[in-house]
Amino acid sequence: MKRLFLQTTPLPLRTAVFFAVFLLLTAALFCLNLFVGSANISFGEAFRVFLGRSGGTTAASILLKIRLPRTIAALLLGGALALSGYLLQTFFHNPIAGPFVLGVSSGAKLTVALVMILVISSLHTVSSVVMILAAFAGSMLSLGLVLAVSQKVQRMSMLVVCGVMIGYICSAATDFIVTFADNSEIVNLHNWSRGTFSGTTMDNVKVMTAVVLLGSVGTFLLAKPIGAYRLGESYASNLGVNVRRLRMLLILLSGLLSACVTAFAGPVSFVGIAVPHIVRTVFRTSKPMVLIPACFLGGGIFCMLCDMIARTVFAPTELSISTVTAIFGAPVVIAAMIGRKRGDGHE
């Protein structure tokens, strides 16, 4: 019965309904993430903290210094990751593209690890901006490699294999560096290199908000040319799209967004493919004006949910975020691949 309703609903209504659902889920998960955790904080206590009536207590510092920044990070970085994947899928005209499978995240991970070790050993601290820049450089390097390969092979499957290989090489190099640079300052580098939202500070949040906002608004401003570009390059250029410029912007924005994620949370797997696929299926459209905001919200929901699972299921032991996102994300990716075979079989 429900399925029938969903299939026959006209598009604008359907879009409105699902946006409302997405917004509700975002709000609900945001609150849940604040209240659920190993330290038991009652609802009333939390409420007082947010009204500013019980500053200085343990509950206040757990909520404001640990859970709040972590939840915001999951929301923003999840959104950024989904958008980054959406941009790469647009670029390659293929739903199987994403920052993790194309080795972009791992490239960023390697450069961030290198910079962290070099800078921390000399200055004992490293600013978020430097980390993002390092991650951006790494993203661009591995993406450049993938693009160079894509000139030679057109098949997406080969490109993904190549991306996964680049990912393995970078991960191996990172592990090597982390293992041999074992001093006290970079102990948490090990956790970071497996992917986690923990340890995010409010200062981190400020920087990531700025970068993610820049990347997301930039993406939204490209909604019109992206809409024409989905027809294919030739048709887009006949409509007056500057295809070269658009392709470059797609790569730069995607790199910026995934670099921001890697700089703060390490590599997070499969969100970039799974979320846009779910969003396209649910909204049944390919309109960028709908998909861009929906992907952002969807990514936030997905990561907040996964992060909650990561820190509560085996509490006090935490799972790495990629462990959880892979469990939920990888099956979706497989579904996307099968759906593509069955759907418009042409490349």
Binding site: H93, L221, A223, K224, G227, A228, R230, L231, G232, S234, Y235, S237, N238, L239, G240, V241, N242, R280, R284, T285, S286, K287, M289, G343, D344, H346
Partner: protein, 255 residues
Amino acid sequence: MSDKCFITADDLAVGYKTPLIEHICFQVREGEILSLIGPNGSGKSTVLKTVAGYLRKHGGTVLIENTKDDCLSPNEKAKKMSVLLTERLRSDRMTCREVVETGRYPYTGHFGLLGAEDRRAVDEAVELVKMSDYQNADFGEISDGQRQRVLLAKAICQEPRVLILDEPTSYLDICHKILFLEILKKLAAEKQLAVILSMHELDFAEKISDYTVCIKNGAVFCSGPPADIFTPDTVCRLFDIPKELYAQYFLSSHR
């Protein structure tokens, strides 16, 4: 019919890395249809792609309404010329009407939202190609014949003055070929479009064109009004068909 040449190719040389065909000259006036014919691989698509601006010219000029095409901005050019290619259009989850709406791209604002004028143009185009029955169907799930009509509607609602079509009828059955060409003929006349198309169906090309350019072995083989071109002699020489085979396959059937 006005005497204004809407699109002119003057001593045009086309090709990929090296020039493939040189010294191409033609003019298409408003309301006229020019057809390009020639054997497979002779370079018809290359000519069309160069005129449409996808390939670099190796020499010569293309004038659109007395302006060199290089002097037009991408957006200005999009308002003057639209194309229908053999390359398949990607249409991930788009309805036919959405595909038609993309033709309004050069006219909409920064976010590409359609205004009343845009909707009117889309409605008119949908009506013209008679696709209102299936305008809400998924573009990936309709027949080839319907698909070509949707693409034609998309090209029309771009409100161009020049329409370039690369083998638009090749994969259609006879009924859809006739239907498509009828719509095209009507369009050219009513909207005063200058139409350039390539095709393999000589019988149809003869009936639909005002002027024909034949291409063979890297050169313009001959050109002229259809009455001069579609003679047994010229056709046999253009396609290297032995005379007796031509007689066997063509003359008996409809001459």
